[in-house]
């Protein structure tokens, strides 16, 4: 029973993914994007850095980097918390 349900869901997902891959733009010729052209043209004067990806990460989209730093902090706190309660039984940390 579980095998049949798993097989049907796998088939549906594979058909969805392959049809999605075949219907998007051909590789190497994306559609024109006005936001990306604006960023590549004006990133040097407005932010003062030669690296456009660093300017996007820290200036145009700095809020996403703030969220990512929060996720990193939460994951590190979670790992150190989970590995502490089993350590205190034997060692005197």
């Amino acid at each position: 029973m579980r095998q049949i349900a798993g097989l049907i869901s796998l088939l549906v997902l594979v058909v969805f993914i392959v049809s999605g891959v075949l219907l998007i733009h051909p590789f190497g010729h994306p559609d024109a994007s006005a936001m990306d052209d604006y960023i590549i043209e004006n990133a040097q004067q407005e932010t003062g850095s030669n690296n456009v990806v660093a300017a996007v990460l820290f200036d145009y989209r700095g809020l996403d980097t703030l969220g990512e730093a929060t996720i990193l902090f939460t994951a590190v706190t979670g790992v150190l918390l989970l590995l502490r309660s089993l350590k205190r039984k034997g060692e005197s940390s």
Binding site: L10, V21, P30, I40, T65, E68, A75, L82
Partner: protein, 117 residues
């Protein structure tokens, strides 16, 4: 469709995602499930970077770059964020597998389903 495009990076990303779906649905060992999730993350990152490629263009950095158009730069920034988040989530998943092994003594996802004590 009059022609089937053979774009190898997109097909490779679809293959990675398809194999990881098979692992997550059909395998029972917890370590194999974690490997399936990591493979899913790799497939999605490859797909994101391959979406923004322009044929014959250079990297989006202005230091000593030759003349010509530049590759789209926003998918590369999003992939960087995605890689860091996947590392953090994988570390948390591995710690939880250690705890499950301590409490139930087995790495089988069917047998460690009952909650006791």
């Amino acid at each position: 469709m009059d022609y089937i495009p053979l774009d190898f990076p997109f097909l490779a990303a679809a293959l990675l995602v398809g194999i990881s779906f098979y692992i997550i649905i059909f395998k029972k060992n917890l370590t194999k499930l974690i490997m399936g999730v990591a493979m899913l993350a790799s497939g999605v990152n490859l797909f994101l970077v391959a979406l923004g490629y322009r044929a014959g263009a250079n990297a989006p950095i202005y230091t000593d770059v030759p003349e010509g158009p530049m590759v789209m730069s926003i998918p590369q920034a999003l992939t960087l964020t995605s890689i860091v988040i996947n590392v953090a989530v994988l570390a948390l998943m591995l710690t939880m597998v250690i705890h499950i092994y301590r409490h139930t003594g087995t790495l089988d996802s069917e047998k460690s389903r009952k909650m006791k004590g």
